[in-house]
């Protein structure tokens, strides 16, 4: 995708994706229009310096229905879900929830940041739940390193943690693992039928 | 503490700002040297430079002229006119050879009791160091100083400012 970060915005009822605004509002349960761009969210965001669009600008872009511009940036994948923004927003804009909604929408769509490490980690994490019911950090880390091509990453941490008894080499599956699978399946089913977002 | 020389200080102040500021210093029980004698005017705009000469002539060693801050004049522009007038007057004093350090202009508002104390104290100390002013006690007739510029040299200075 071309870099649209600095290109001119042509605003019209056609170019402002109102459906997108409504979708984000529905998913997050938070108003987007309330935001008056005070910047308090960005002021306290621990991840601001790693983001290309600061959190307030993310809200601004949604207000204008500029989904592509949001997608084109990495900000949503750098949000740590720390809830600082939501806690401090003077307008009760739940930006952390909006970030969740955006990640979900990006996850569903074919966004440019699909390959992000964060997304990969999330995916593995969820797969872990599906397969084992619980997290096994060793496996998570190992698979992540393999899949992300960073074989040597955190190489030194592993043995250290093992020696401290912090990583379990073996894991037992939950007895009612079938239950979990059913939940995953039902959600998938619901989505297929349009019963769930 | 006793000093060798206790100067006489005369303060010309406006009633709305500086006089009230000096009152505040009193109600706040701030202590300052007793050398100052206050003469009250409705406005600094009323203060004729002749009064300053008269005070010097009568033995004042230092003079303070103080009114409202620019823009706060109770009479809108009196302090502004005063400022202009004294700018001219300073030139004249300088011309005569009076040390301008003996004449202080300041703005003290009704809320600035502390500033009043500071200014009076500093001026008193400054004048103590300078010693008594003698050259004026024998200055002749102050009425010449009512701004009638009979002396061409003075007029030249006046026109220049």
């Amino acid at each position: 995708m071309k870099n649209i970060k600095n290109t001119k915005m042509e605003l019209s009822q056609e170019t402002m994706n109102v459906g997108f605004i409504k979708k984000v509002e529905a998913l997050s349960g938070s108003s987007v229009r309330r935001c008056f761009q005070c910047g308090k969210c960005s002021a306290g965001c621990p991840m601001r310096s790693f983001m290309d669009h600061p959190p307030n600008r993310i809200v601004r872009l949604i207000q204008l229905g500029q989904w592509e511009r949001v997608l084109a940036g990495r900000s949503i994948w750098y949000c740590a879900s720390c809830e600082t923004c939501s806690t401090r927003c003077p307008n009760k804009v739940d930006l952390a929830a909006i970030m969740d909604a955006l990640r979900k929408l990006s996850w569903d769509a074919d966004g440019p940041s699909k390959e992000s490490y964060v997304q990969l980690a999330n995916k593995l994490f969820i797969n872990n739940i599906k397969q084992y019911g619980r997290q096994y950090e060793m496996r998570l880390a190992a698979v992540f390193n393999v899949k992300s091509g960073q074989f040597l990453k955190d190489l030194m941490l592993g043995p250290k943690l093992l020696s401290k008894g912090k990583l379990k080499m073996f894991h037992s599956k939950n007895k009612n693992l079938a239950e979990i699978e059913k939940i995953f399946n039902r959600i998938e089913e619901m989505r297929k039928n349009g019963d769930a977002p | 503490m006793k000093h060798d020389f206790e100067p006489k200080i005369v303060a010309f102040v406006c009633t709305w700002c500086t006089y009230a500021g000096a009152d505040l210093a009193g109600t706040s029980r701030m202590i300052y040297p007793s050398n100052v004698r206050v003469v009250k005017f409705p406005c600094t705009g009323r203060i004729d430079p002749v009064f300053i000469l008269k005070a010097f002539q009568k033995g004042a060693d230092g003079i303070l002229v103080s009114g409202c801050h620019p823009g706060d004049c109770h009479y809108m522009a009196g302090n502004f006119h005063a400022r202009r007038r004294f700018a001219v007057f300073r030139k004249l004093l300088e011309f005569i050879g009076v040390d301008l350090n003996r004449l202080e202009f300041s703005w003290v508002s009704a809320a600035e009791g502390g500033k009043w104390v500071e200014i009076v104290t500093d001026l008193t100390q400054k004048i103590r160091k300078m010693g008594p002013l003698t050259q004026f006690t024998d200055l002749a007739d102050e009425e010449q100083w009512s701004g009638a510029l009979s002396n061409p040299e003075l007029k030249a200075v006046y026109d220049q400012v």
């Binding site: 042509e10 605003l11 019209s12 204008l64 500029q66 | 005369v10 009193g26 009479y75």
Partner: protein
């Protein structure tokens, strides 16, 4: 004067603790002119005051010095006591030996010396004091209100309701001002005409209001309590006494295509017209510039059709003189005109917005007329160019305002709010339309104002873009707006159907001329200046003249009405007494010495100094001298210090008094 009584107060121990009061009294007895001196524990107490009164009688005192607290504390108390004892109160002065002495020094000997000095100074001063009598000025209890917008109407009604006569002068054929032009009003969105027209009718029906419309102030004489006003009533060409307001003349007038100013030229009117149907008075005027009869003498239709024979082509301008005691100035504002650069003004205009040549770029008032149910389109919002309903409307705030480069640095205060209102009115009328607003700040400091603005965005879905517009140009039937969104940090471009500019509020044309007639001051933009921004916000420095509404600075209706009522209250305060009594601390000119240089006139901030002609018995002008109008002088003394020939003196602060004090040094 040589029988002076000196009363030294202990103030409990407040003074006596540091000042040896007995020693001061002892010293006072030695001073020239002092006939009696004593000290007492509480001078301001009843026994203290009785002591003073008794002493006056017993010792036949002619002057009094009370050495006690600050005169700011008790001068009134002791002057009253002196008066009760039969002395002129201005022969009583206070020597401040508490705030300026006992409280601020700790050395008893020094403080006592200083207190003695202070008393001596005041004794010398009192010796030179003169009896002063409070000045009284008779008050004509009749007010003039200039300008018949909501400000003038409110002030006039308040004063008249209080029982006083009011003369209301309006320049236009009808009262109403801008508020009559508005559609609905923030922050409540009530219909402007619905709340305005009843007030206009109240004015014309009020038994104590004399209304002069189509009239202007010709000249103003006099001073507070006693103004004489000459009013020019412009020829209406219709006899107000005869006209029934039937409107037949307007219907029949063949000149129908004159752009209607009231509708911001969106509609037309005949040459004989009322500006709008609810006009007050409902009497037409003939616009002589456009009337055929006046151009070439040919028509005369209106006169023929007028039943009561009210049309009078011969009518002349008329001068009326009214006597009033107070004046309320309420001449309102005009909108910044981007189409032209006024001659001799710093205003630059907006070349980048096409200098107003693009038909679908309009100003806020035009939008008001479009949105008004009684407007030229019946409240339908359409584009001036082709009458189509606009689907994309761009509003631009701060046009002209806050633009030093363009000539105005102030904020117009109402446009943020009326733009928010416009986006709502638009959305209410064009449901599928989209409003955009380019803005720098949203200035909404009023009760329920910010909530109103937020509603425009959150509920009416106006898209606000923080950032300004750089250029506007026509592209086909669209108007392209080039702006920026500084939150996103990119340029924004919108192809709009209609662009509405929130242009600056400026004083009316001729505001300066009127100010000069009235002798009131105005700022560099021609807004009238109040005497004190915080403490006297509705009074002019010139006594007896008050300000209301947008002529003093940009203002919305609530502020305007509040100020108008405040001005009315000030007028009523003035009218509450038959005589105006003032402290006799005023300047007086000694005509014998005055050389007529008028240096005093230049420095007097109150316009109190006038020129006075001295004539001989034959009436030949001998010379001109200064005269201080005691009604206007506020006693600052600036003139006295300025006068090169020492010809003007401020009572109560004469040179003699000051010099006497200095002589004690």
């Amino acid at each position: 004067m040589s029988r002076i009584g000196v009363f030294i107060c202990h103030c409990g121990e407040n003074i006596s603790r540091t000042v040896d009061v007995e020693q001061v009294a002892q010293a006072a007895r030695q001073m020239t002119g002092v006939a009696y001196a004593c000290d007492y524990k509480y001078m301001c107490s009843d026994p203290g005051q009785t002591l003073l009164k008794k002493a006056v009688a017993e010792h036949k005192l002619e002057g009094i010095v009370v050495a006690a607290c600050s005169p700011r504390m008790h001068e009134k108390t002791f002057r009253n006591a002196a008066q009760a004892a039969g002395l002129n109160p201005f022969l009583c002065e206070m020597a401040n030996i508490r705030e300026h002495c006992s409280w601020v020094h700790d050395d008893r000997a020094e403080a006592t010396t200083k207190a003695t000095d202070i008393v001596r100074m005041l004794v010398e001063r009192v010796r030179k004091n003169k009896k002063l009598v409070p000045i009284t000025v008779p008050v004509t209890k009749r007010a003039l209100v200039i300008g018949g917008g909501i400000a003038g109407i409110q002030a006039a009604l308040d004063i008249a309701d209080c029982g006083h006569q009011v003369v209301l002068v309006e320049r236009e054929p009808s009262i109403g001002g801008h508020m009559a032009m508005l559609s609905e009003t923030f922050p409540t969105l009530d219909c402007s005409q619905c709340i305005m027209t009843p007030r206009m009718v109240d004015v014309i029906n009020h038994p104590r209001i004399t209304l002069h419309t189509y009239s202007e102030i010709e000249c103003v004489d006099g001073y507070i309590g006693n103004f004489s006003i000459t009013i020019k009533k412009k020829a209406r060409s219709v006899d107000m006494a005869k006209c029934t307001g039937c409107g037949v003349c307007m219907e029949k007038c063949p000149q129908k295509k004159i752009p209607n100013e009231f509708d911001k030229n969106l509609g037309f009117r005949p040459a004989i017209y009322v500006p709008f149907p609810q006009a007050v008075p409902n009497t037409p005027v003939i616009d002589r510039e456009h009337c055929t009869k006046f151009i070439n003498g040919k028509c005369g239709v209106c006169q023929k059709v007028c039943g009561p024979g009210a049309v009078d082509y011969e009518q002349q301008d008329q001068l009326v003189v009214e006597q009033v005691g107070a004046i309320v100035v309420a001449t309102g504002f005009k909108l910044y005109d981007i189409t032209e650069k006024p001659k001799g003004s710093a205003i630059k205009g907006y070349g980048e917005f096409g200098h107003g040549k693009i038909p679908d770029v309009i100003d806020g008032l035009t939008f008001e007329r479009l949105a008004s149910a009684s407007g030229p389109t019946g409240g339908k919002i359409v584009r001036p160019s082709d009458g189509k309903e606009p689907k994309q409307v761009v509003f631009v705030q701060c046009v002209g305002s806050r633009a030093r480069e363009k000539g105005i640095s102030y904020c117009s205060k109402v446009c943020c709010m009326y733009t928010a209102k416009h986006t709502m009115l638009y959305k209410h009328k064009v449901h599928d339309g989209q409003a955009y607003v380019f803005f720098m700040d949203a200035r909404t400091p009023g009760k329920s104002y910010d909530e109103f603005w937020r509603r425009a965005i959150e509920e009416e879905e106006a898209v606000y873009v923080r950032g300004m517009v750089s250029r506007v140009y026509q592209k086909g039937d669209k108007v392209v707006v080039m702006g920026s969104d500084i939150a996103v940090g990119v340029q924004v471009e919108i192809e709009a159907d209609l662009v509405v500019l929130a242009t600056a509020i400026q004083p009316r044309d001729g505001a300066d001329t009127l100010a000069q007639k009235l002798g009131i001051s105005y700022d560099k933009y021609n807004f009238y200046s109040e005497a004190h921004a915080k403490l006297r916000p509705v009074e002019c420095a010139t006594a007896g003249i008050y300000l209301a509404g947008a002529c003093q600075g940009p203002k919305d209706i609530p502020d305007t009405v509040a100020q108008a009522s405040a001005a009315a209250a000030k007028v009523m305060t003035l009218f509450s007494k038959d005589q105006l009594e003032r402290e006799p601390i005023v300047a007086r000119v000694n005509e014998k010495f005055c050389v007529g240089c008028l240096a005093c006139k230049k420095v007097c901030a109150y316009g109190a100094v006038e020129e006075k002609e001295i004539r001989d018995r034959q009436g030949n002008l001998i010379r001109v001298v200064a005269y201080v109008n005691p009604g206007l002088c506020s006693g600052c003394g600036t003139c006295q210090a300025t006068c090169p020939s020492k010809s003007v003196e401020l009572d109560g602060y004469t040179d003699e008094q000051v010099m006497a004090m200095l002589d004690t040094l």
